[in-house]
Amino acid sequence: MTSLFSRFSPLLFIALAGVLGLVAVALAVSGLALPAYVLGGLALLGQVLALIGLLRERRLVVEVTAMLKRLKAGDLEARVARIEGSSPIELLAWEANDVIDFADAFVREATASLEAVSRQVYYRRVITTGMPGAYRRGADAINAATDAMQHKIKNFAAARGTFEQNTAHVVSDLATVTLEIGAAARQIGAAAGSTTERTAAAVAASGEARSNLETVAAATEQLNASIAEISHQIHRTAEIAHEAKRETTEANVRTQVLIKSAERVRQVVALIKEVADHTNLIALNATIEAARAGEAGRGFAVVANEVKNLAGQSARAADEITGHVTEIEGGVGAVSGAIKAASDVITAMDEAAGSIASAMEEQSAATKEIARSVEQALASATTVAGNMDGVQRATGETQKSATGLSQSSADLETHSGRLSGSVGAFLDELKKVI
């Protein structure tokens, strides 16, 4: 039955019913009395068949309409699956199916290819085999775009590779430089610190030197005063020495006079002694003579005896005088020696004072030289102190700069780390993209 309808169009059945109707009418007009029910039955059959056929075609039309509605809504799954004949309407349904098949194929291809591109898969191209007209042109355009994208991505990937390499180098270099700067900054800081310490020490030393120099200057001044005083006193000493010398000379002269006087005393005493001895001898002779004279000479003997005693006394006095003279002479000799020694001492003292004076003169000159030098040294020390101030300030600045540099280097390190991280992250993102 189905195949019957598949093969014959309802039109055929309508035509058949019409023909049968016409035959029935013709027979009726011609008076041929074929049983009317036979003809009527045949016509009815034809009409029923035609109706069934029409209903089938109507079903197809409804199905195609429903399919087109779904298609309109973007549902590419819609098809009229059961088409069993080749009537115009059935052919229409097949054509409609084909239309959707092409649209469906294009959408599947385009979607798959673009999804692949989004996964960075470029070999999945839109298959254009069997793809007609505008679909083909659209597919070609998509494939051309994919080609271009693949090309660009390839170039970009190469560029990314180069970029990655270069940034890796830069980041690595930066890290090295940062480390070096950090080390240099630390060295500068340490050097500046050490310089500061040394400068402080130098400043202290220069201060000390200055105060020492001032002390020296003061001492030199005092020394100068002392030297003047000493010179003055030496002068006085020389004068006194001269006076003393003159006086010793005079004393010497007097001593010589004294010695001569003593000698004369000695001569006088010797004469007295001689007289006394002679007197004694005479008295002795007188005594002897008196004794010879006996009684008469008794008185004389007494006188002679008295004379002898006197002579003895005179001799003894002379001896005593001689003793005294000798003592005097010894004393004078000692005095003379002492005077000579004193004179020698005074001469030596005079000489010494002379050499002290000349030494003092030299000393004075040297002290003046020292004072001048000290003055110069003081000026230098002041200059040094000033310079040290400058050095200290400069060192302070250097230290500050070194600290800043160190901080900058640390910052640089942080930034370089961040840069490295950012570049890494950027490249990671980039790798995700292509």
Binding site: A81, D101, R108, E109, Y123, I127
Partner: protein
């Protein structure tokens, strides 16, 4: 009912402007077939609709290819394959099949869709036929069909791995 697997050795061809289109439900039963399919498979609509797609399976096709095909499309992905099919009269024809899942409004798989185009001849003769023969031999070397198929899947996987390409890359490279 025994499946008729007799072969005539005659190859059928279709126009390169044509595309063989079928749709199946989730179980692989045909829900739509276009005229090109019906013509080349020598089927009428009534026999095609609701029939399993394996209706046109050719005995020279390794089963592992279909296993891979189903694994892929059930995972929601598309697959391309060179396939030798058998028309119901025993003739055979080669296609370049593209099988894709059809998705519903919620993204769920509601069926499968296959577009088959005229294949390039050269890769079939130089690459596909030898590989399929090899895989088929692996499958037939096992008493158990399932074991044989798994062995063939392993063989195919190893082949791709040693060539360092994915199945897709391989198909598009030939």
């Amino acid at each position: 009912m025994t499946v008729d697997r007799s072969l005539t050795g005659r190859e059928r061809f279709f126009e390169s402007s044509d595309v063989i289109v079928t749709k199946t439900d989730l179980k692989g039963r045909i829900t739509y077939a276009n005229r090109t399919f019906l013509n080349i498979a020598n089927l009428d609509v009534r026999h095609a609709l609701n029939a399993p797609h394996s209706l046109i399976r050719h005995p020279d096709m390794p089963r592992c290819v279909f296993w891979l095909l189903w694994e892929t499309i059930q995972a929601g992905k598309e697959i391309f394959a060179y396939v030798l099919n058998r028309a119901v009269n025993g003739d055979h024809y080669w296609v370049f099949a593209h099988v894709t899942p059809s998705f519903g409004e919620q993204g769920e798989i509601i069926g499968y869709h296959s577009n088959r185009r005229v294949p390039r001849r050269e890769p079939i003769d130089t690459v596909i036929k030898p590989i399929y023969a090899e895989l088929l031999a692996v499958e037939n070397s096992h008493a158990n069909r399932k074991d044989g198929m798994h062995a063939a899947v392993v063989a195919l996987t190893e082949k791709l791995k040693s060539a360092k390409v994915s199945y897709d890359e391989f198909i598009f490279s030939i």
